[in-house]
Amino acid sequence: MKFLGFIIVCLTGALLLYGTGEFPGWGDPHSPASIHLSNDYIEKAVEQTQVPNLVTAVLADYRGFDTMFETAVVFCAGLACFLLLRDFKEKKERFYRHTPTGVILHVKDSKKVLKTGKEFEHMDKDWVPSDLIIKTICRILIPFIQIYALYVVAHGDFSPGGGFQGGVIFGSSLILLAISYDLKVLVKRVKEKILGIFSAIGVLIYVGIAAICMPMGGNFLDYSKLAPLVPGDPHHVRALGMLGVEIGVGIAVTAVMVIIYINIVSEGRHEEGL
């Protein structure tokens, strides 16, 4: 197998290199790729869409259709992880800590569930005493991370950023919560049901905005036809449309990030993670 693999790899590499023979030099400003379409984008995009960040303009408008399915892919991944891993069966054995004494109880049968309140605390099997410093620092950091994420989403039109980036950052803030405290905290804060619904709603916002354009008399995704619906300068309607879909993307990505994380670290049990 190894040898065969090696042969295949070498053949592929040779093929690809053979192809590079006629490539234009790297960074050649006159290569077809840099002439044919990109010039149109660079020159026309701003006046057509009022969005100086060309990547966002192309991503969310010219090729917005791609991006919609890309978001659908994200949604699909979340759904897949849920379907594949989520396991609603209760875990067999549980560990509780009696807060006042610090005594640890080991409950064998899954039926018996102690009420976790101020007296008992449900804890992970391989439990490490949670570190105060980490907890505190993360508690301070997380809000800033989330603000930053929102900024990245909102400001994607003018500076590097956009729905995906923002969504990822926001999701990672939540994941940080799960890492610094433990999974139960996250699951308690962000209900699984909410995540599931939001992952769909995020995409729905995108598809919805795109679909509304059709009854408004435009083609699918044609934001310019939304002018009657949105207040303000009709010039900016495209930019606003993009902002809308970026928000949708952000929501979807956040939700899916968390879904994937929760399901994978807890093998779908949602009881204890890393």
Partner: protein
């Protein structure tokens, strides 16, 4: 020889991407551990991203964000030279490709977890033996 060198120097990042991709592909084919295969898969996809991004690069040009175009309308005033900005399209495409590969990777990880839950191993040869153990197929 020298011209080969010049060729390589002129397009070294294409050569790099090819090498990177070969590494990834080899890992996917030859490695015995499923997680290693997954890592190989990521390297493979990253190589492609490198390739696309290098297509987009343009000598002495900056990122495709139009300067002093905030607020839009005065963008007409500032005249835009295509030569000043690199090609935005490959970056867009790669944004999509990255998301796709992440999604795929997520699903693959989930599957790996499932496999581990069922067989308590991720080594292919051991898995094969396990499969023989559980007998004829459903």
């Amino acid at each position: 020889m020298t011209d080969l060198l010049t060729l390589i120097v002129a397009k070294y990042n294409y050569w790099l991407y090819v090498i990177l991709m070969m590494i990834g592909l080899y890992a996917m084919i030859a490695k015995n551990n499923l997680i290693k295969k997954l890592v190989g898969m990521n390297i493979f996809q990253t190589a492609i991203i490198l390739f696309y991004v290098s297509i987009g690069y343009k000598r002495d040009a900056t990122i495709p964000i139009i300067q002093n175009a905030h607020g839009g309308n005065d963008a007409h005033a500032a005249v835009i030279h295509a030569a000043d900005y690199i090609n935005p399209l490959p970056h867009v495409l790669m944004l999509t490709a990255i998301v796709v590969s992440v999604a795929t990777f997520g699903v693959a990880m989930a599957l790996a977890v499932r496999v581990y839950q069922r067989y308590q191993t991720l080594e292919e040869d051991e898995l094969r033996m396990r499969l023989v153990d559980i007998g004829p197929e459903k």
